[in-house]
Subunit: 180 residues, 2 copies
């Protein structure tokens, strides 16, 4: 498993169940959503702009993609949420299993982010992102080609304290075959 | 991280939040529990009996321990559940990072079980257990010394279909220092 295969296996529509554990209050949050992951061209204008904003040569980018989500949380049942972001892997030139991941919208804060990734020997994608006031670590792995899981930790930036731990189980939506 | 260190770091009292995703129904189950993990002696009678029931020489056992839990699920709010089990690691003689784990009470079915474990290069403990009608895979890792997470998959025995995916975040209860 390398970054190319990992991104390619992620393309498609996913039905996601996410549980967030807000640890200080032992609170459970339940989120259901539909996630679409679609490939972008390396000469897509938004991809070029995102690279430019980080002063990174776009020729280093590989497999950029767009992730779009739409869902509902039991914290706010009255309305659904939607979002979209583009992500651009920048593998190290000597080893594509480690590198950087550019994102035009962060997970823990709503600003652009740059994270570092590595892919473990067992195919787990591990992403670390530092924000102004927090850091995030995310592990994603495929249990089967049509089922993947994500575990995310949001930590305070000062210490190692984990504020929120969350878990997503994502099932490939086979109906997306009709859309592609 | 080897099996010795992994088990030693697990000793103590843990406050657990567990979310189970019942995938066919996209149902969320929420469980809160207190888990106690205490060391047992390798010449404890129950440890010897468990080894004997699998025809395994007890001299191969290392760091046997007892796990006891007490908690509540939102599937059955009217009563709490409790349970206890003993677990006995049997490391391979050539490599203690792989081996078998004996258990007097299984997770997916209420019968004794024998699983195989390995410890990854990043310290993740991975346990695979086959039952009559299901199999289970569990990953456990320490985010910090006082915070660990567990991801479990219950699969049907015939195929690779995941029936239930669950996630536990476990915080060490510092008050247990007064008990030990």
């Amino acid at each position: 498993m390398d970054i190319h295969e990992f991104v390619e296996r992620s393309f498609g529509r996913w039905q996601s169940q996410r549980s967030a554990h807000h640890l200080a209050f032992r609170h459970f949050e339940e989120v259901t959503s539909t996630i679409d992951i679609i490939p972008l061209s390396t000469d897509d204008e938004e991809v070029l702009n995102l690279c430019k904003s980080y002063s990174i040569d776009p020729v280093l980018a590989t497999h950029p993609f767009r992730m779009t989500w739409e869902g509902e949380s039991d914290w706010n049942e009255s309305e659904s949420f939607t979002g979209t972001t583009i992500l651009v892997p920048i593998p190290d030139q000597n080893n594509s299993n480690i590198g950087r991941l550019l994102r035009d919208l962060g997970y823990a804060e709503t600003i652009p982010s740059i994270g570092t990734y590595k892919i473990d020997s067992d195919g787990t994608f591990i992403l670390s992102t530092k924000y102004d006031r927090a850091s995030a670590e995310e592990k994603i792995w495929f249990v089967t080609p049509n089922f993947r899981v994500r575990v995310s930790m949001i930590k305070t930036s000062e210490g190692n304290g984990v504020v929120t731990a969350s878990f997503s189980s994502e099932i490939r939506s086979l109906s997306s075959n009709f859309n592609s």
